[in-house]
């Protein structure tokens, strides 16, 4: 069912978002045209966060019930989450270079994002090195849970870095940047579009994982038969 609904919905929302961001929204007065990347930057950040929470929820479900479906969902959400987190880390500096004058600063939010990326990249490495093993699925679920438990603690701890200097990003989102209602509409639509895309990708990835498992099982069966025949 999801396979039928998600692709056209995602496509329509994405086209609408592109139209809003590039044709409708006025160019931001101070930052100029580069501000338009904001609509996808923020949307990707939300998608990444939701994916990471989905990893935790699916990991908990897997440890509790042992359902293979939850395990595939955790893997799929982690991959898509790392993808969108990478997009956040790429679009951010493109905006920051003309506005801040540097590609990167160790602002708490930036630090937090790069640490999250590292946690879930390590999650994917663990699964890649471990292979399709039931024990590795359990290790990954433990990491998926611990990683999410760590998010609030990391969030508080990075605020200890360099005191509490004003966060440029927070000033921008609330009042000054999005005064125009068209800008708010564009942000909502592009976020919806990116979330739909993320959901679709997770569904596809989980399905390919399931099919991969089935193929491997069939191949083992076929080899066992051949081995028995000769």
């Amino acid at each position: 069912m999801l396979d039928r609904v998600l692709p056209p919905l995602t496509g329509a929302a994405m086209l609408l978002a592109l139209w809003l961001v590039f044709m409708v929204v006025p160019t931001e007065a101070q930052m100029g045209v580069v501000q338009r990347i904001f609509y996808f930057h923020v949307a990707a950040a939300w998608a990444a966060f939701l994916c990471f929470f989905a990893v935790a929820a699916a990991s908990a479900a897997y440890l509790w019930r042992g359902s293979a479906r939850a395990d595939r969902l955790a893997l799929a959400a982690a991959e898509v989450g790392v993808l969108f987190c990478t997009l956040v880390l790429v679009t951010g500096p493109i905006w920051a270079r003309p506005i801040w004058g540097v590609w990167w600063t160790w602002d708490p939010r930036l630090t937090m994002t790069v640490i999250l990326w590292a946690i879930y990249a390590a999650y994917l490495m663990l699964r890649a090195f471990g292979g399709p093993d039931e024990a590795v699925a359990r290790y990954a679920a433990v990491l998926g849970l611990v990683g999410t438990l760590d998010i609030p603690v990391i969030h508080v701890s990075v605020r200890l870095l360099q005191g509490m200097h004003p966060s440029v990003l927070a000033d921008r989102g609330g009042q000054s940047g999005l005064a125009d209602p068209r800008m708010r509409a564009a942000l909502w639509v592009s976020s919806l579009a990116v979330l739909l895309l993320a959901g679709w990708l997770v569904a596809l990835r989980a399905r390919s994982e399931r099919l991969g498992g089935e193929v491997a099982a069939l191949r083992r069966l076929a080899e066992a038969r051949e081995g028995g025949g000769t």
Binding site: A118, L126, F129, A135, V142, L143, L149, V153, L160
Partner: protein, 221 residues
Amino acid sequence: MRAALTILRKDLRIEWRTKESLSSFVVLGVLLLVVFTVAHDPTPAEAPALAPAVLWVTFVFTGILGIQRGFLLEREHDCLAGLLTAPVDPAAIYAGKLAANLILLGVLQAIVVPLIGLLFHVELGAVLPGLVLVLLLGTLGFAALATLFAAVAVRVRAREVMLPLLLLPLLVPVLVGGVKATQGVLAGGLAGAADALGVLVAFDVIFATAGWLLFPYVVRD
């Protein structure tokens, strides 16, 4: 509880007889201190400002390798499988391992911290109680996570890379909290370190509990 104490005694006895973890711990710790100092080449005036960062980075890297060593020993001759077949709650194994790791890390700190005071011209005597509190809190959080994931890392391929890869990003709060709390304590007392100590306490509570609850899932076969 008795099982945890037995495992603690066993680990400490192995360590006492071989002195493998401890000797590699200490030599590596001292070596890292030297490397950091040489790489940064601080003037005597700026050296004290470096001390907290050097202390915690040295501790984290040395600790990761030391704790991994302890689990590799269990792997040889399938000792871990033996432990698990014993009629013992896996959570008790975690508690015993954690306690043993805490003691080893404490010995490491007792050697490395005075050396840092010496090499970086920091007067440690006056701030010792506060510093010990910070070290205890940081060590507990570090060991809680490291003990859990060492059990994971020894059982996958590329385990030498895997443990730091898993642990370093998760340990950021310990690193940041430890450095900031140490700076506060060195600058004048626990009051300046309150926020950072809060982070350390929260980390300890969350991950000691999480480790206790999740360790059985890691070792179950």
